[in-house]
Amino acid sequence: MAAVAARHIRKQFGDVFAVNDISLSVNDGEFLVLLGPSGCGKTTFLRILAGLESQTSGDILIGGENVNEVPPRARGIAMVFQSYGLYPHLSVFNNIAFPLKTQNTPRDELRRKVDWAMRLLSIDHLSSRRPRQLSGGERQRVALARALVREPTVFLLDEPLSNLDAKLRTSARSELKQFQQTVRTSTVYVTHDQVEAMGMGDRIAVIDHGQLRQIGTPTEIYDQPADEFVATFLGTPPMNLVEREGGSLGFRPEHFLPREMLNGSALAEMPFRIDRMEYLGSERILYGEIEGRPSKRIVTAKLPAHAASDQLRAGDRHAFAVRCSELHYFDREGRRTREGAVQ
């Protein structure tokens, strides 16, 4: 059964649709990531799920029940905000106990649940501190603990890692994922960071301009992008798109290699003029253009750091190729079309 289902959700601000007809469902225990650029409507959609914002039309179902008219407090959700929304005047213990107190939980049970949540997130030594005395990572855990004690049907997380520095973010990411796998609570996670999305999501929903562009597992999203937006939004550097008759042709930089590195027969060869090279330690990024195939953006190739390093220099022209099975075809509207169309 779906823990959360959204049906044809729209949200209009004036003439603008912040959310335009999004339907999706979150399965029991699933970690669903809403991924999209800033201002694409993903946070608005999350707030609609939470009931903090009301949708212009459409239905929200949580645990099978229509909650359109149900206030946030009765929806069985818990939310972690971008800057955590901790109560500055309360200690860590009382922050975590807050949702239980509003439900008039008996004192013993309250104590037990808060202790359990604090132990699970290894913050039991912080119980009497105030939020301002905590580091970013600790605050995030307090916010998670507060969400956890409610025993919600679904967690809603709004970019909870964006306030952490890069190093902490990596460890917080794996902790968060591990935590979710321990408690097995369905989770909707909003982010604009594709690394977070790919690394954490059981499924990813890519949103742009208020519309759901594609929903699927990280592999599906990466290997079979539904349109040019999804293709170029994921991947660093993003997928190359070059013009072809009736649309465009896409290929990932890591699949675009010097001809001699590829064997087999089904290859699409392209003469690549290298303008610039970047050495990134484990890999090299080559920037340039393909002769005879105009592209709106610079074409990139991603090579293992030392592969063919002596043959490739900036200013050179070299024969590159892509396996035909790794080519993606898009029509004039940017939608994916069947492979084997005219090159």
Partner: protein, 282 residues
């Protein structure tokens, strides 16, 4: 050596500026203090030095103030009016400021400015229509008329001040409380109010001092001595024709300004953080 000399000169000029400022600010209080305890002969003798006692100090003015005038009654009236006005102001301004701070769109900002503008209309213009309202309500010559009228200038300013403060409290805090099981009012009471203590204190001090110093409305609406607040009672009952009871006047002014001065000093830090809270926290 020159840097040393420069430093001394710098410190010296800093402290002399401070001393000058303190003298300037404290002089009226000093004047009130010595006038209160001077004998009438000393006060009216043009030959004597006005800055110190030429005859021995006396308690006669204080005695007169407490025994032969309604001074204590006026103080009580002022305190009663102050407490009522502060209560009314808080009851109206807290929810109003919160709603304006959380209202989406530009409407809230315009409403806020509109509310603040009403504060700028001078009482000398407003007392005409308001006196009509007061007489219609049958409150003329009663201190309750002031309890009704003073909020017309405390509420706009305090609403505006609180709005600025509430805006500085991240919206995520009330939203977290709403998700965590509170109603909107519950979220306000449990999370926003405790965080707004400096602002609330500022409102209390501001509203209270404004009512303590108001004169025009009191003069317009009240004529019976036993209904007068301190500002009016002192000025009308201790100046009889062209006879000024200087000792009593100064004594009354001094005594009534002490509680306010103490309140300000105790809460000065919080007062400042209340006033500037919206500005620095963004």
């Amino acid at each position: 050596m020159t840097t040393m000399a420069r430093r001394i000169a710098g410190t010296g000029s800093f402290y002399s500026a401070v001393v000058l400022l303190v003298l300037f600010a404290a002089f009226p209080f000093y004047w009130m203090l010595i006038t209160t305890f001077k004998q009438d002969g000393d006060l009216y003798n043009l030959q004597s030095i006005p800055y110190w006692f030429n005859e021995s100090p006396t308690m006669e003015h204080i005695d007169y103030l407490f025994t032969d005038t309604l001074f204590l009654r006026w103080l009580g009236n002022s305190a009663l009016i102050g407490v009522c006005v502060v209560a009314i102001t808080l009851v109206v301004s807290l929810p109003a400021g919160y709603s304006l701070a959380r209202m989406p769109g530009r409407a809230a900002e315009n409403l806020g400015i509109g509310i603040f503008l009403t504060y700028l209309v001078p009482p000398t213009l407003l007392f005409l229509p308001l006196s009509r309202v007061i007489s219609l309500l049958g409150l003329q010559d009663s201190l309750w008329s002031l309890v009704l009228v003073y909020p017309t200038f405390t509420i706009p300013f305090c609403t505006w001040l609180l709005m600025g403060f509430f805006k500085s409290v991240p919206r995520e805090i009330d939203e977290a409380a709403i998700v965590d099981g509170c109603t909107m009012v519950g979220a306000f009471v449990k999370t926003i109010l405790p965080l707004s203590l400096p602002a609330i204190l500022t409102v209390i001090i501001f509203a209270f001092t404004l009512t303590m110093q108001e004169f025009v409305y009191a003069l317009t609406f009240i004529s019976s001595s036993d209904q007068k607040p301190i500002t009016l009672g002192v000025a009308t009952d201790l100046v009889r024709g062209d006879v000024y009871y200087w000792g009593e006047l100064m004594g009354a002014a001094l005594i009534s300004s002490i509680p306010v001065a103490i309140a300000y000093n105790l809460f000065l830090d919080r007062f400042i953080s209340g006033i500037t809270g919206g500005a620095v926290k963004g």
